[in-house]
């Protein structure tokens, strides 16, 4: 909402500087997000009076104007067509800063020779001063202005650009802001006196108003003015509308807009002669009912929308836009002026559904008070008579089925103190509320405060407390720390698990990324080596902004692979990325499941390129190593079994099994999937469902005493069939007493072992908690292990 300061000053004296005023308003809840100083750059532009006009000796279309500037006279060359001797004009001396009439750019006025005549200065148009686009005519000032005075005193202004919060529709008006300023500064308010002559037969003989949907229209008022003449509105009104960001149209329309800006009450003018049957019916639209609106577009309505209708059909969409059929035009002579109150939710729905946001709509949907209708209607009627001529019918139409009185609210000083943490006296409280227009009845330490008729946002005591706090100032409220006892501490939570996990991965050299939760089917389908429909279908957004953000991701892989591909364009070497975030798994008639997933991908060089060499590539076993390291840190016992995910390489993947549940996967990406993501290298990936893992990470760790007796280490190299897995062998070795650690340190298949066989070499640590082991004890166990391996897997000692 834009408020010209001069307009505001019509209602209230302001002694603060514009900057101070802006600050006070901002602190109290009406944010001034900008200030435009019109005339701030008008140094060297003064009021002059034309004393003579003579033809230019060398040009027919130019003339020489002599201008009295009070202390001196100047003769300048001008091409303006509307000059008369005696006119008071805006005269710019050389060096004044002006807007170029053609290019629109700022320039500094210089002395110039025009067709042989030197011109030291210039008479200005509105465009040259930056007020409007009018460049044809020069500005003619009212006769009352003083010759020689600065032009900024007359045409300058400061426009405040306000951000009005949705709860304060009353502040979407100059008078509403004036009332705020009254409360903030204590300056008295001086509202316009409204009176006009009602000279023709009573309105109820000329129009009838019926409200058929009182739930959507609490009040409908109207006046009738006949014999008006449609023309341009006066300059001062046009200028104010422009300053507020509205386009002048005609005197009648401009008056309705002007009064809306003044009071905050939208008005609508109908061409009275177009109202068929001389009846106004406020009713719900019928489903499918159509109306051509002012903008010439036919709109289809629904029963949730409200229309203003005459005997034959809708003439306007209530509160949103008028109909083309009843529009005020050049031929209009009689005006039916509507000032009504509509249900905010209904207007919001209609404006939103029809995509017709408007100044009127914005005020109705925020819930203005029905009491506002009459003062606005009366002032607008008065202005129409003054400006467009005509005569008003006696009386006003006023249907008010939704009358809702403002109720008094009880407030005590202790309530204020309890909420704000500071004591204010009843006097302070009452004085704030009174300054805001509340009617206050004091009873001991309490006050019954009735909100003023224009406030629709005050319903209970806390609302009054906010009024007190914001007018006195939030900076008067002390700052204290919470002093209540601390809530119970939180148990082991997913929050901590996530933090541990993130820190571990960063320690392993992974870079964390965060990607959008929304993705596309096309992206998800790239994860399928053979195309098939996704099962289950991921959740879809009903109103996607773009096609690539239509579905909620059911995994983190697709985005990570896309990130890898994008980074490959500028990154050599190893790339290790992880994301820890939610995936969204649909459930029947319920919110989706949102497990926290960890997904990491690795690709390229294992080590950073270095002068000390190292050019191994990252493999499946790096991915698995990261998983094992992480699980170790989390204190989780896990095993791996053959995996079966379609997106991964059929032979190079393993499922992570914890306490019998598959909670994750590690593997090399399926070559076709890599190809689909345009990745031309081996990519390994791991995934863990942290939400499922959480319950398994909780549990106390139990201290194991540090061994008192020395250990004995033995190496054991065996040759087994290639199909025998390390895990099978290890499980057997680990099963023996005294064995405390088994480490695989070599795997070999090749010339040195028979075809179809491989060699596995283990370092086994033997230790007893009760005594120092002897070689004989260890030899015995080692022999037992070997026999068992021989009987189970036909293992032989590697010679």
């Amino acid at each position: 909402m834009k408020i010209p300061l001069k307009w505001l000053q019509e209602y209230i004296g302001i002694t603060l500087t514009p900057a101070d005023l802006a600050n006070r308003l901002t602190m109290a809840g009406t944010e001034v997000k900008g200030m435009q100083d019109i005339g701030g750059s008008w140094a060297n532009i003064v009021v002059g009076q034309i004393t003579a006009i003579n033809p230019h000796p060398n040009a027919d279309r130019l003339s020489l104007a002599t201008v009295d500037l009070g202390t001196e006279q100047q003769t300048v060359v001008t091409g303006a067509p509307n000059l008369k001797v005696g006119d008071k004009v805006a005269f710019a001396y050389v060096r004044a800063q002006l807007v170029d009439g053609h290019s629109g750019r700022l320039f500094r006025l210089k002395s110039a020779k025009i067709r042989g005549v030197v011109s030291n200065g210039m008479v200005c148009s509105e465009k040259e001063l930056g007020i409007s686009d009018n460049h044809e005519e020069i500005i003619v000032l009212p006769m009352g202005v003083e010759v020689g005075a600065s032009i900024a005193d007359y045409l300058g202004d400061v426009i405040l650009d306000l951000d009005i919060t949705p709860n304060r529709p009353d502040c979407l008006s100059v008078i509403g802001i004036a009332k705020e300023v009254t409360a903030l500064t204590g300056q008295g308010l001086d509202l316009p006196e409204v009176s006009y002559e009602e000279s023709i037969s009573p309105i109820d003989q000329q129009i009838s108003v019926e409200i058929a949907a009182p739930d959507l229209c609490p009040r409908y008022c109207a006046s009738l003015i006949t014999g008006v003449k449609i023309a341009e509105s006066p300059k001062w009104m046009q200028q104010r509308l422009l300053a507020c960001g509205m386009r002048p149209i005609s005197n009648i329309v401009d008056i309705t807009n002007y009064v809306m800006l003044e009071y905050g009450q939208p008005l609508h003018a109908f061409d009275y002669h177009q109202i068929r049957g001389k009846r106004i019916i406020v009713r719900r639209a019928t489903d499918g009912e159509a109306i051509v609106t002012l903008d010439g577009i036919e709109r289809t309505l629904s029963e949730y929308m409200l229309v203003i209708a005459d005997e034959e059909g809708a003439v306007a969409i209530a509160g949103v836009m008028g109909g083309a059929g009843s529009e005020v035009g050049e031929e209009t002579t009689s005006i039916l002026l509507e000032s009504a109150n509509f249900n905010p939710a209904s207007i919001h729905y209609t404006g939103r559904t029809l995509r017709l946001p408007s100044e009127a709509c914005m005020r109705f949907e925020r819930g203005i008070r029905p009491e506002l209708t009459l003062p606005a209607l009366k002032h607008a009627t008065q202005l129409i008579i003054q400006i467009a001529g005509g005569q008003a019918a006696r009386g006003l139409a006023d249907e008010y089925p939704g009358k809702l009185e403002q109720k008094p609210i009880l407030l005590s000083t202790s309530q204020v103190e309890r909420l704000l943490g500071i004591e204010f006296s009843l006097d302070q409280i009452v004085s704030v509320l009174t300054s805001l227009g509340f009617d206050c009845k004091i009873r001991e330490s309490e006050v019954w405060a009735t909100p003023p008729y224009w406030r629709s946002d005050i319903h209970q005591a806390v609302d009054l407390i906010e009024e007190v706090a914001r007018i006195i100032g939030y900076d008067k409220i002390p700052t204290t720390m919470l002093s209540q006892p601390l809530p119970r501490p939180d148990p082991d939570s997913i929050i901590r698990l996530k933090q541990k996990t993130r820190c571990s991965l960063v320690g392993y050299g992974f870079q964390e990324v965060i990607t959008y939760s929304l993705t596309s089917l096309e992206m998800l389908n790239r994860l399928l080596p053979e195309p098939h429909p996704l099962e289950p279908m991921p959740l879809r957004v009903a109103n996607p902004m773009t096609a690539d953000q239509e579905y909620l991701r059911p995994n983190l892989r697709a985005n990570l692979l896309a990130a890898l591909c994008a980074n490959r364009r500028h990154e050599d070497g190893g790339i290790k990325l992880f994301e820890l975030g939610r995936i969204y798994l649909p459930r029947q008639k319920d919110l989706p499941e949102e497990p926290e997933m960890l997904c990491g991908i690795l690709s390229g060089d294992r080590l950073e390129k270095s002068w000390q060499g190292g050019d191994e590539l990252l493999t499946f076993f790096d991915a698995k190593g990261v998983m094992e390291g992480l699980l170790n840190r989390l204190g989780v016992e896990a095993s791996f079994e053959q995996g079966s995910e379609e997106s991964l390489h059929p032979n190079k993947q393993a499922a992570l099994v914890i306490a019998g549940n598959r909670l994750g996967v590690v593997g090399e990406l399926h070559p076709k999937v890599s190809q689909a993501f345009e990745i031309g290298e081996t990519v390994c990936l791991f995934e863990i469902n942290l939400t499922a893992l959480l319950s398994l990470t909780i549990g106390h760790k139990i201290f194991q005493p540090i061994p008192k007796f020395p250990s004995i280490v033995r190496d054991l190299a065996i040759v087994v069939d290639a199909e025998i897995t390390h895990q099978e062998v290890q499980n057997i070795i680990k099963g023996y007493p005294l064995v405390v650690q088994v480490a695989l340190f070599d795997v070999y298949s090749g010339e040195q072992v028979p075809p179809g066989k491989k060699s596995l070499a283990y370092r086994i640590t033997f230790q007893s908690p009760t005594h120092t082991l002897t070689d004989e004890e260890v030899n015995r166990v080692q022999q037992q292990i070997l026999s068992k391996l021989t009987s189970e897997f036909s293992a032989t000692l590697r010679g």
């Binding site: 919470l482 809530p487 939180d490 009903a542």
Partner: protein, 383 residues
């Protein structure tokens, strides 16, 4: 160097003024007087040993010197062994003299060894000189995402003030995102939070599902499920139906906070937020609390800090106001408490909500919010 100097001076003493030293040793005077062949031999051994020692310049030579003069087969050892065959008198004088020589040689050997070690060390240090400007062997370094870092930093601040970190669903019922927060259908506040709705497949959507537009939805759930005293912060992703540009992304992060207990006041809210600002933005950063409107609080607050670029003078970043809006807050609306089953007559509550992206953008001067979610390593590695 200083060790060598010491040695030189001690050698000098011995050779340059022998008479002075001998004069003080009655035992040696006797030896002089009765210069037996053995004493003479010992004198020769000592003088040749010392002479040789002076020209030795490495440990190897020193070791062979040791073998030659002090070893089992050395002349000195032989003399010492033969003492037993001498007469008591002779044994005394020769024995004393031989031990004197042996002791002296051993001392000098140790001194020389020390010197040679120093020299050796200096030489080896010269040999093993490295180019310390060569890069270190790389250890892999990962970085937490700047948003994660910011969230952790904020959570830490509030945890230290007794708040717990909690989370809630991102796909949410209309009820918790709006209705329970005093934002009924067709409320104009909904317009400021353009919503992405979930296609739930059900006709009319009698229970509409959406992507939460703020983390305040978690507060609505906490009020419903937890019992006071409550102090929580609720970090997480939120979504808006908005096109991307340098200052907007359809997904971003917020952290909401909620405290419910008896006797909580707006002064406590100001204190808590002031403390947050002090720790996050620094002690000297000015803070401003002004009235603002959010449907779920009353009174409502906006907290701004003095602009980080212009320090309050006014610049492009702060829209010439000198202030940068950081968060919205207020005393939880009684309606919201009531809706969740907490009696507003008994309990008071405050709430606040902070947008996250803005903070690292201000701190690091990042000018495009989309960089956070673009996964570009050249960006992410900077933090």
């Amino acid at each position: 160097m200083s060790a060598r100097k010491n040695l030189q001076s001690s050698l000098g003493t011995r050779f340059i003024v022998p008479s002075f030293e001998f004069a003080l040793t009655p035992l040696l005077l006797i030896a002089y007087n009765f210069k037996t062949p053995m004493i003479k031999q010992l004198e020769e051994i000592e003088s040749s040993a010392l002479q040789e020692l002076g020209s030795i310049d490495n440990i190897k030579q020193l070791e062979s010197w040791q073998v030659r003069y002090l070893g089992k087969k050395s002349q000195l050892t032989k003399i010492l062994r033969s003492l037993a065959t001498l007469s008591l008198d002779k044994r005394k004088t020769v024995g004393a003299y031989a031990n004197e020589v042996k002791g002296n040689l051993e001392n000098r050997l140790e001194q020389k060894r020390q010197v040679l070690r120093e020299v050796e060390l200096a030489a080896s240090a010269r040999r093993e000189d490295i180019d310390i400007t060569l890069p270190g062997r790389p250890f892999p370094v990962g970085h937490l995402h700047p948003i994660t870092q910011t969230l952790y930093e904020i959570c830490d601040i509030f945890v230290s003030m007794g708040f717990q970190v909690v989370e809630g669903p991102e796909v949410e019922w209309d009820y918790y995102n709006f209705e329970a927060l005093n934002i009924p259908k067709e409320h104009p506040a909904r317009d400021t939070m353009s919503t992405s709705w979930i296609d739930s497949g059900t006709e009319g959507g009698e229970r509409p599902m959406l992507l939460r537009t703020h983390t305040t939805s978690v507060s609505a759930r906490i009020i419903e499920t937890m019992h006071p005293p409550i102090r929580v912060v609720e970090p997480g992703k939120v979504y808006r139906y908005e096109a991307s540009d340098a200052t907007h992304t359809p997904m971003f992060y917020q952290i909401d906070g909620l405290a419910v207990d008896k006797g909580i006041t707006m002064a406590d809210l100001k204190g808590t937020l002031y403390e947050f600002s002090r720790r996050f933005f620094g002690e000297d950063r000015k803070v401003r609390f002004r009235c603002d409107y959010f449907p779920f609080v009353e009174p409502g607050i906006e907290m701004a800090i003095e602009c980080l670029v212009c320090n309050g003078k006014g610049c492009r970043l702060c829209g010439n106001s000198g202030w940068i809006e950081i968060l919205g807050a207020g005393m939880t609306h009684p309606q919201v408490l009531q809706c969740g089953g907490i009696d507003p007559e008994v309990y008071q509550s405050f709430a606040f909500g902070i947008g996250i992206e803005r903070l690292p953008m201000l701190r690091y001067g990042i000018d495009d919010i989309r960089l956070f979610y673009g996964s570009d390593l050249r960006f992410l590695r900077q933090f």
